[in-house]
Amino acid sequence: MTAVDLRVAQRPNAPVTTYRYDEYDAAFVRERVAEFREQVRRRLSGALTEEEFRPFRLMNGLYLQLHAYMLRVAIPYGTLTARQMRRLADIADRWDKGYGHFTTRQNLQYNWPKLVDTPDILEALADVEMHAIQTSGNCIRNVTADHLAGVAPDEIEDPRPTAEFLRQWSSLHPEFSFLPRKFKIAVTGAEHDRAAIMVHDVGLRILRNERGEIGYQVVVGGGLGRSPFVGKIVGDFVPREDLLAFLEAIMRVYNRFGRRDNKYKARIKILVHEKGIDEIRAAVEAEFAAMDRSVFSHDPAEFERIASFFAPPPYETLPAASSALRAAKLEMPAFANFVDVNVSAHKMPGYAIVTVSLKPIGGIPGDATSEQMRVLADASERFGFGELRVSHEQNIILPHVKQDDLFALWRLLEPADLATANAGLVSDIISCPGLDYCSLATARSIPIAQAISKRFADMSRQRRIGKLGIKISGCINACGHHHVGAIGILGLEKKGQESYQITLGGDPTFSASIGEILGPGVTAEQVPDVIEHLVDFYLAEREEGEAFIDTWRRIGHVRFKDVLRREGEDGADI
C-alpha cells in the first residue's frame, strides 16, 4: 500500500478529498505548539516583553482585542472535514462561549479565549491537523482559494493543491516572516473569480495555454484597507515549476523595498503604486533571473503528491435532474425557495452545491454556535462525503450533495436555523466584527447588518431584488470588504458620532472595481432607509435580468446620488 492508500484505509467512511498531514506536517505543527507554549511561559516570566511577544503571538493567530484575546484559526483554502468541524465546536464549548465566527478570509475566530489556554487550544487543533499559524502578523497569511474548488462547472484546475503547496512553502519562512506588513495570497482556478484575487497582495489565476500547459497569471498589489487598489499583472503566464521561485522574487523585492516608515503605507500595493508596475516587474524579473532556481527543481513531484489528496470523491452515476427533488419542491414552497436561492450547479450530473447561510435574518453575519457546527458536520457526513467549505462570504458550503438528498438535508438544517434561503441576496451581508469586538473599529458593523437584514426580512421581496452584495466595515481597514461591495458601508467616527459612508459599484471579481462614495455620511439609524431607497431606485431602473452593479454602471453614479439628494429634501437628513 502507498502512504495515500493507508490514509484512506484509516478513514473507511470518508474519502480523502483534502490534504492529510504526513509525519513531517504533524511534527511541524506540534513543534509550533510547543514553541508557542514556551513563548507564553516566557512572556509571563518576563523574558519576553509584550512588544517582543506581540509578533510571535500574532503569527499564531492571537490578537489582543477590545475585551479579550481573539484567536484566529486557519482553515486553509476553506476546506474542512466533518471531524475538524466537530473539533471547532468542542473548542468553542470548552474554551470559549459556545460559538465561533467565520471570517472573510476563510478563518474561524474565537472571541473569548484566555492567553494561558491558547497552547491547549492549539494542541487540540493539531490533533485534527489544524493550526492558527500565520493567520495574523506581518508575514504571508493563510492562503485562500475559491470555495467551490473541485466542484464548480467553470473550473480549469482545482486551486487547492496550489494553495496547500504555498501554505507549506510560506510556513515559518526564514526570510519572509518579518515583512513590512501582512501579505495575503488568493488562488482561483476558474473562469469566474470567487476568491477576489484582484484585491489581494498577490492573486494567482490558474490558466491553461494553447499547448495545454498549466501556468499562473500573477497579479500583485491589490488590496482594500484605507487605500484600495485593484491589482496589476506582474506575470502573464508563470509556469508551475517556476511558481515558488517567482513568488520568492516578489517577496524579496517587497521585503527589501516595501515602506517601513508608515504602517499605513507598508503594504505591497503602495510599493506598486509609488514605483509603478513596470519598475516592480523589472525588479521581480531581475531577482528571478539572479536566484538559484535549482532548489525548486524537484517541486513538480511534490506538487503532484499534494494534488493526489484532492481527488474527487466517489460520485455515483446519476441522471442530471432528480425527480424526487422536483416533487419535494412542488410540495414544500419553503424548500423550493431554499433550492432556488442556496443551491447551485455541480459539475457532476445529479449533484448540487449547497450554501448554508450563516446570515439568519437579524443575526450576526458569520457566527455559528457549537450546536450548529455539529449539525453541519453531521450533514456533511450524511449527505456530502464528510466535506465542508468556508466561503469568503462567511457562509458554509456543502460541496457535493445528491439532488435526491436535498430535501432530507434541508429538514436537518431547518430546525438548527441553518436553512435561511438568502445566499447572495440582500441580507447575505458580509460584515467585520466592528466596534462590538474590535479594538481598531471606529463604528459598529454587526448592528448595522442586523438592521438592514431586518428591514428586508420579507424573503419574497429579497428574491425579487435578486443577487445583491452588501459589505460593511467598521473602520477604514476594510475587513468587511466594503470597497468591493455592490453596496459598501463604511463606519467612521465623526466628532464622537458614528457616521456611515456609502459606496456603490464595487466588484471583487476579474472585472474588479472599487466602489465610489455616494455622498456625506449618514447616521446608523438612517442606513436601512438609505439602502432601501437605493434598492427601490435600482428596481425601478433595472432592465430585465440586470444586476445592481450593471444598472449602476449603465445609468451612472450621479443618478443614484440624485435619488439620495431628493430623499434628503423629503426630510431624511443625508
Partner: protein, 168 residues
C-alpha cells in the same frame, strides 16, 4: 554587547571601531561602512577586517570588497525589521564566505530565521541578554527538526526528506 554563536554566549574576538578612533595596523576591527574604502586601502590583505552595514545596503556596492572582508555585520534597527534577512541571503548568494553577524535587538525566537537566512552570529545588547539567557537561545535553535523551505541553511528540508522516503 553579548555575542551568540552556535547557541552559546561567546567572547567576541572582534572590536567595533568608533569612527573617531584611528585604524589599528593589525586589523581585527569592524569599521563603519563610510570608512570601509579607506580601511581597505590602508590595511594589508593579511589584516582581518570587518564592516557593519545598514540593512538597506545594496549588495552590489559590497561586491568588490567581499573577498577582503572576514566579517559583515548587518544592523537591525528594530527586531521586527526583516530586511536584514534578505540582505544576508543576497550576500551569501554573492559568494560571501566569512562571518555574517546580525546586530541589534533580535530576540531568541528569531534565531532560526537568522541562521536560516545565512547568519553565523547574533550580537545583542546586554539588557536583552540578561532577560534572554543562553538557554533560551540554545533552545530556539532546536525547536524545529526540519523546515519546509529548501535552499535555506540550518535545518533539514521536509521536501528533501519526503523525496528520500519515496526513493527508499
Amino acid at each position: 554587547m553579548a555575542l551568540i554563536s552556535e547557541g552559546r554566549f561567546v567572547e567576541d574576538s572582534w572590536r567595533r571601531l568608533a569612527d573617531e578612533e584611528a585604524l589599528p595596523k593589525t586589523g581585527g576591527v569592524i569599521v563603519s561602512l563610510p570608512r570601509l574604502e579607506h580601511a581597505l586601502e590602508v590595511l594589508g590583505t593579511e589584516s582581518a577586517l570587518g564592516v557593519i552595514v545598514p540593512n538597506t545596503t545594496e549588495p552590489s556596492s559590497l561586491i568588490q570588497a567581499l573577498p577582503r572582508l572576514q566579517l559583515i555585520s548587518i544592523s537591525f534597527p528594530a527586531f521586527s525589521d526583516g530586511r536584514g534577512f534578505s540582505l544576508a541571503r543576497l550576500l551569501r548568494r554573492a559568494g560571501f564566505k566569512g562571518e555574517l553577524r546580525a546586530s541589534g535587538r533580535l530576540v531568541a525566537d528569531q534565531y532560526s530565521h537568522a541562521v536560516g537566512s545565512g547568519f553565523d552570529t547574533i550580537e545583542i545588547p546586554e539588557d536583552l541578554a540578561e532577560r534572554q539567557d543562553e538557554e533560551q537561545w540554545r533552545a530556539a535553535l532546536n525547536v524545529y527538526a526540519m523546515s519546509y523551505q529548501r535552499g535555506y541553511t540550518g535545518r533539514g528540508s521536509i521536501l528533501e526528506a519526503r523525496r528520500r522516503a519515496v526513493r527508499s
